[in-house]
């Protein structure tokens, strides 16, 4: 009797749970008691797997039998910068095969930094009747043939987003494989494709899909075809142009300006390859409604950028090349009071001398003028502690701060001191900082500050910094919320790693390359911590062919419930209890 009074029928709980969408909360619910765990797992529809090797397809399917949406991430972040050799892993196929069997009603697949084959795409195309969303972010391994299979078979497809993937572009014909009866497209991103798609097919597709909100074209779509496309989709909210150049002719320009003006809902612009500056004014009619602008491929000079940006009073997000210079950033600071995110990319990252007048001053101006600024990615060639201090005090609401001073180990250019105090000010004042990337000349002291103040820090990227193990120890022992730590070319070694072994189980992953971690220490770590995969990468040969004290090339440690992975290439070894047997 008493029992009944205290328990809800399952249906009621399920209904309540359906309002809980965040993964963290779902996880918390499942820990309350066994029956809640059971109910929750049957009604979970969406899952995010931050590291595809942390769990396995059978484990996922066993626990969550009724998923509609799966997100998987594969390679570590440093793969973006060629630090992860070809063939390392992150294969999507086993996942897709398993899901094809277990989830006939799967609607959404989102993959990041994974290797996806045409075969996998064909399986997706044929296995899920109600498939709606395919996002392949920074993926590779597939060709336009795989895309053709998706186009031809997925009747209910809403979103096809290939952002920044490497696609072997065999032919633009795949786009024609969307049947004439197909009209449900809402979002298409083909900006990464190298070759021309069939433009006529594209125009027809765009004009027959009334819900198309996002269209990101590739460079090969010529500018003079853009007006037609825009007229076919006046409801567009996000547009990525193709090449933004053409023979300068008044009718092309006026056609373009008119077409832009007709897109009353357009809020996001990107693309802008090969920009002819005289065509930029064509977007002026819609500048006042823009909230996001990606000009990071636009090789135009500061005056043209200023004219454009100063008209975008509602701008919240700006990605731009350092051609904008300090002057342009000052105008940005004065004009765009709603700015939340700024990314400034280098136009000439490998040049020895600065090619633009962009310094720390630009960032200082923006930090002063934009009260809502939260997220910064900034490439520059000089920085000072004073500037960092000012930025920190101006913007304590920063949540993401990634600074890349191009020359490694650059000191404060005014005092020639390390930049420890400057970054220290950042972590001290920005109490909600979740992501931080360091650069410049840094000693162990900066890590002391990070360990002390970086309590909300979740991701830290370090390069060419620190003096000793103490630096690493400060971070591992101090940052309570650390999930991802990636380090390259720092003198961090065995002591800090082994002393904080338990910490690693609370994190998603740790990457260390060109540091001073010895093979022996990796073995010890692997043996001590069965719930971690300790992977050593070495392209010059098996690590046990060298003394145990010699440093490993690359180390990738991550927590897992799936045990050591079985798909490693020849240059990756897992350190575990069986490591003695494995390496022969």
């Amino acid at each position: 009797m008493k029992k009944a009074a205290y328990s809800f029928p399952e249906e009621v709980l399920e209904h309540v749970f359906s309002f809980i969408v965040s993964d963290k909360d779902r996880s918390s619910i499942s820990l309350v008691c066994k029956s809640w765990y059971e109910i929750e797992r049957w009604c979970r529809r969406k899952v995010f797997v931050g590291n595809c090797y942390a769990v396995s397809p059978p484990i996922l399917i066993k626990r969550f039998p009724e998923l509609r949406s799966v997100t998987l991430k594969g390679k570590p972040h440093f793969a973006d910068f060629n630090l992860v050799p070809e063939g390392w892993g992150g294969f999507a196929c086993p996942w897709i095969r398993a899901m094809a069997g277990a989830y006939p009603w799967l609607e959404e697949i989102r993959l990041k930094r994974m290797v996806v084959s045409d075969e996998s795409l064909e399986i997706i195309a044929k296995s899920f009747r109600n498939f709606k969303v395919l996002v392949l972010s920074s993926c590779e391994g597939f060709t336009t043939e795989g895309l053709a299979a998706i186009a031809a078979n997925c009747r209910n497809l809403r979103e096809l987003d290939l952002r920044e993937s490497e696609v072997e572009d065999l032919s633009g014909r795949w786009l024609s494989d969307f049947p004439d009866s197909y009209t449900s497209l809402e979002s298409l991103n083909i900006s990464c494709l190298g070759n021309e798609v069939n433009l006529l097919a594209l125009e027809r597709l765009v004009s027959r899909c009334p819900n198309l909100k996002t269209l990101r074209l590739n460079r090969a779509v010529p500018l003079d075809r853009l007006p037609n496309l825009l007229r076919g989709a006046p409801q567009l909210a996000e547009l990525g142009t193709g090449a933004y150049t053409s023979e300068m002719r008044p009718d092309v320009f006026s056609n373009l300006a008119e077409a832009f003006a007709g897109c009353k809902q357009l809020k996001t612009l990107s693309g802008f390859w090969d920009v002819l500056p005289s065509y930029l004014p064509a977007v002026y009619p819609i500048c006042s409604q823009l909230i996001s602008l990606n000009l990071s491929y636009a090789t135009v000079q500061s005056p043209d950028l200023i004219k454009l940006v100063s008209r975008c009073e509602k701008l919240q997000k700006l990605w731009v090349l350092d051609y904008i210079e300090d002057d342009g950033l000052e105008v940005l600071a004065a004009s765009c009071k709603d700015l939340r995110e700024l990314r400034v990319f280098p136009s000439d990252p490998f040049g020895l001398e600065p090619n633009v007048a962009l310094t720390e001053q630009g960032l200082v101006s923006v930090s002063e003028g934009c009260p809502k600024l939260q997220s910064v990615l900034y490439f520059c060639r000089q920085m000072s502690n004073a500037a960092l201090n000012t930025i920190a005090r101006n913007r304590p609401n920063l949540t993401r701060f990634r600074l890349c001073i191009i020359e490694p180990r650059s000191p404060d250019y005014l005092t020639l001191q390390p930049l420890d105090d400057g970054f220290g000010a950042i972590v001290e004042h920005c109490k909600d900082l979740r992501r931080l990337s360091l650069s410049g000349l840094l000693t162990d002291r900066v890590f002391g500050y990070i360990g002390t103040y970086g309590k909300k820090l979740e991701m830290l990227s370090v390069a060419f910094a620190g003096d000793s193990d103490l630096g690493l120890h400060h971070v591992l022992s101090g940052c309570d919320n650390l999930r991802k730590l990636e380090i390259r070319d720092c003198p961090f070694g065995d002591k800090a790693l082994l002393a904080n072994a338990a910490k690693l189980e609370t994190m998603r992953s740790l990457w260390m390359s060109s540091c001073s971690v010895s093979f022996g220490a990796c073995k010890v770590l692997g043996q001590k911590m069965p719930r971690l995969n300790v992977e050593v990468m070495d392209e010059s040969g098996p690590p046990d062919s060298r003394p145990e004290s010699s440093p490993v090339e690359k180390l990738y440690v991550y927590r897992t419930v799936a045990g050591p992975r079985l798909d490693m290439p020849g240059f990756v070894w897992t350190m575990d209890d069986n490591s003695a047997l494995r390496i022969s």
Partner: protein, 207 residues
């Protein structure tokens, strides 16, 4: 495809890629203390997936065409630094090359300005092939310039159902139908263009 990795030792300068005149030294070299830490410097052959080939060392050459005649020494590249993604790097390289070719046009074999003639037109025109990235861009421009239409291109039938078709003279002196070879190959081999009547072009297409 695997980058070779060297531990940075005292021979750094000997192994460094340079384009400068002998005797010029690089500014900012790493100090001996720095070198004692394990810095791996990869002279990466595969640092970019860019198929257009030229290494970053060559890019610096292009950079300096504006400054006198001095050639800056190329920097020894550290893999993955600065942290700029391949897609972005390749894209910037391509755009830069295009601009530089555009600025330093004519004189070399693959001249970018080409003459365009059309049967019946009173005079020839000239266009800069470098302004275009693809066949459709070029063909649109030609159609506008000469107020003619080309129709749909297909491999089998050439430009079907149109009054006119675009042809070009290649490096070997042969007259080819525009559109058969990849765009980049076309721009390298095209010496001049000629817009011919559809009937003339059919002869070319059916070969």
């Amino acid at each position: 495809m695997e980058p070779s990795i060297y531990q940075s030792e005292l021979n750094l300068e000997a192994t460094e890629l340079r384009l400068g005149l002998p005797g010029r030294t690089n500014n900012k070299r790493s100090s001996p203390e720095d070198r004692s830490r394990s810095i791996s410097i990869s002279i990466s052959k595969s640092s970019s997936v860019d198929s257009s080939g030229p290494s970053n060392a060559t890019d610096h050459d292009d950079d300096d065409d504006d400054h006198q005649n001095s050639v800056q020494p190329a920097k020894v590249q550290v893999v993955g630094w600065p942290p700029v993604r391949s897609f972005r790097r390749n894209s910037m390289q391509q755009q830069k090359q295009k601009k530089d070719e555009h600025n330093n046009n004519n004189g070399d074999g693959s001249a970018m300005y080409v003459k365009v003639s059309m049967a019946g037109a009173p005079y020839l025109r000239k266009i800069d092939l470098n302004v275009y990235n693809s066949y459709s861009q070029l063909l649109n421009a030609l159609q506008n310039l000469f107020k003619c239409t080309f129709g749909e291109y297909s491999e089998r039938e050439g430009y079907n159902g149109s009054e006119y078709a675009p042809t070009y003279e290649d490096k070997d002196g042969d007259w080819m139908l525009v559109g058969d070879v990849p765009w980049d190959m076309f721009t390298c081999s095209c010496k001049r263009l000629r817009i011919v009547k559809g009937s003339e072009a059919k002869g070319l297409a059916s070969l």
